[in-house]
Each structure stands twice: as structure tokens, then as C-alpha cells.
Symmetry: C2
Subunit: 232 residues, 2 copies
């Protein structure tokens, strides 16, 4: 919630209204909203639960303008981007936004059948990160890939079946280049034709007996490898 | 389920019985169980749901001997270990077991008030990894830390408030040593006195605006950094 107010204060979007329950924990937040000229309305616990579409509401709901920006704006000048392709689970998508934010990525692009970044579960799983870094989306994955290429980003498919792993690629210096990592759904990964259409594909090395990593942990290893290579 | 049968076949535990619904997908598994001398009993969908304590059961339930081994057995000769301290969420704990397995860790130790590794949600979140690598537990965290030290492992607290980050430590060569990473709960992290009692504390660097990573993604970055340093 603080993230939304900071985002609006930076001129990146608008918070239209705040609904809060009668809870002393919200006092500071209400003050910040009032100071920012945001109308604040009291609501019952039940109304807060209905508004936030969750069973354990925090008792604060903000009505904001959309967070997404045009693809070109999100990718311009970027050195590290996460692209989600066909990620339908909002919790997974939001967690990747959080990881991308932590790793210092410049944007997260929601491509194809990926969940809406404004989905409540996605916003919550991002723990405020949807307000930190630019988020863009397009139903056309090709449009997303074209925007990345236009921004000079190398498109790498994160693919558990890739012949080469990211450590090998990193040792060769491949991760120092501006990169857009493309992640597929947890259940199905990336379609073969998508992998084939990108500039490279790399897997996270599996040193033990596990078959795979889940989406968020794989994204953490990939994005942090690039973040580190960019700073070396 | 295949993991449980492989684990029993390796003499590491026992599968006492298999309960399966009438579903063609299970044919191969039933054959493998019968070949291994495991009694197989048919059950209704409803019984399978009740036995598996989940709303979307897969229709197969195995009754196994406990997977945990003594602390000394799990830590002996280990070079990379994950210790969970006060991790009460079974999904988080199971996901860390999966990540540790993928990163080639030698064991996962459940310390203090951490959830039981046999918790159904933990087993499911591990996607079979509780059967891949040794798992041990003790209500006494000190006992767990002592076992790690006896095995020659350096105990590193994964602590978001640590002054130094793991990349800096890695560049100095610190991660090449046999290491036990100690992870606290997602909500509260590690207690100060635990951090103070360990050999070192390191944070995952946060390059962007996020306040923190979640437990599983932080564990992925830490364990993969060590795994890579051990293989360099």
C-alpha cells in the first residue's frame, strides 16, 4: 500500500481512493493518503474482505490506475528483463515480479496467455513490486519479443530441456549482455516453437535428484546469474 | 510415488502399502508396486481424498516408513546442507527440500519448531525430493548446529539484515568451503541470538526496490551460489 502511494507520488500512476477498516495499524497509512490528497473511506471488515477478494484481508484496499505501461516504454534502455509466457497462475507470476525486482531487473513483460498483472493474487504475491518496476503486457508474444529485440535485448528461453546450462554460458561471458529471460508456465514450460524462435535457451543445472525447479526458484537463479554478470 | 518405490528399492526405507483409485494412469505404478512386493488396495476417489488430506488428490496414496535419518547420518561427509529453523509453513519447507535436491545438497535438516518433514503438504511441495536426499530433524536447534560443526560444515545464516552479501563472500572464496546454510521462517527470519551463534551471516543482495525475497527463492540463490562455488 505504501508502494502504491510512492508510485503515485512519483507521477507513475494514480491512487483514486482508499478503503480502510477501523484498525489502529492503518493510522500511519491513512495519514499518508490524506496528505497525498487521496479520499479515504471507512469500511467494515466484511466489505474489506469482499473488496480484496481474499479470505485473510489486511483491511486496506486502494483503487489505483492500471500499473502497466506500453511495451516500448518498459523495454527501452533495459539491460535485464523477465518475460512471462503463458503463466496462468497469478501467485507464480507475482512471485516472479518480486524476484525480478529484487534482482534489479528493469521490467517484467506479461506475454500471451499470461495472467493479468492486475489480478489480486498476482499483486499480493508481488508484495508491492508491481509498483516498483515497469510492467507491460501483450496478448501477442511476438510483439513482446519484437519489443525486446528492438531494445537490444538477447532473448534467452529458460528451458529445463536445453542442452546447455546457465553456469556454462556465464563462464563463457554470455550473461554479461543485455538479456530478456523468457519463462514458461510451471506445468508445461515453454512451447517448442517459442524456444526455437528465441536467440538461445539455457537450463538451470540440476546437480541432484530433483526433476526440475518451480517457476519462481528457477527465475531467481536465472535473474540473479544475469544480475551478477552485469555487475562483475 | 515412483520416488518412494525407488527409495525403498535402494534399502533406504519401506513402502508398506499402496492405495489406488480405479484410474488407468496408475497402471504402470501399480505394476511396479506389485513387482516390488508392495500390497496394493483399491480405494474410492473419496477415500483417496481423505487419505491424502488434499482437495485435489492424485488418486494414489503410499504408506511408508519415516524418511528421516539420524542427524549424524545426514551430515556425515556432507559438503552442502540446508538447515530449516522455525519454518512452520509446510509448503515452504517442502519447496526448500526440492531446491536443495536440485542444487545437489547432501541433506536437509529440520531444526527447532520447523514443520514435520512428513507433513503431507511438505512431502507434496518437495515433489518427491524428501525421498532423494537424507532428511533429519531435531527439536533442539543446538543439536542440529553441533552435528553440522562435527561434520566440518561452516554454518552460515541466510539473513536479510546481514552486512555482507553472498556475492562479495563468494568473490573472496568463502563459499568454496563445506557449508550449512541456515534459513529462518518467511515471516520472521532467524532470531538474532541464532544468527549471533553461527559462523557467519550473509544476505542475498537486493539490487532493486523489493524489500526481500521469499524463503524458497532466497534459498535457491544461496544454495546455487554454493553449489557453483564447490564445482568451480
Amino acid at each position: 500500500m505504501r508502494e502504491a502511494l510512492a508510485w503515485a507520488a512519483a507521477g507513475r500512476g494514480r491512487v483514486y481512493e482508499l478503503f480502510v477498516t477501523d484498525d489502529a495499524r492503518h493510522a500511519e497509512l491513512v495519514r499518508a493518503a490524506v496528505d497525498a490528497g487521496v479520499p479515504v473511506s471507512p469500511v467494515t471488515d466484511r466489505a474489506a474482505a469482499a473488496l480484496s477478494e481474499t479470505v485473510t484481508p489486511q483491511g486496506v484496499v486502494a483503487v489505483c490506475s492500471p500499473v502497466d505501461v506500453p511495451l516500448e516504454v518498459a523495454s527501452r534502455g533495459a539491460r535485464l528483463v523477465a518475460v512471462l509466457h503463458g503463466v496462468s497462475d497469478p501467485g507464480n507470476a507475482g512471485t516472479v515480479v518480486r524476484v525480478a525486482d529484487a534482482a534489479g531487473a528493469d521490467a517484467v513483460l506479461f506475454a500471451g496467455d499470461t495472467v493479468d498483472p492486475h489480478n489480486g493474487k498476482c499483486v499480493r504475491a508481488s508484495t508491492g513490486s508491481v509498483f516498483h518496476l515497469p510492467v507491460a503486457r501483450s496478448r501477442s508474444a511476438d510483439e513482446v519479443f519484437a519489443a525486446c529485440r528492438a531494445a537490444g535485448l538477447r532473448l534467452i528461453a529458460a528451458d529445463g530441456y536445453a542442452p546447455e546450462d546457465l553456469v556454462t554460458a556465464d563462464l563463457r561471458g554470455d550473461l554479461t549482455r543485455p538479456t530478456a529471460w523468457v519463462f514458461g508456465s510451471e506445468a508445461h514450460g515453454l512451447p517448442d516453437e517459442v524456444v526455437a524462435s528465441l536467440d538461445a535457451s539455457l537450463k538451470v543445472p540440476i546437480y541432484g535428484g530433483a526433476e526440475s525447479l518451480n517457476l519462481a526458484t528457477a527465475a531467481a537463479v536465472c535473474l540473479y546469474a544475469s544480475a551478477r554478470a552485469h555487475r562483475a
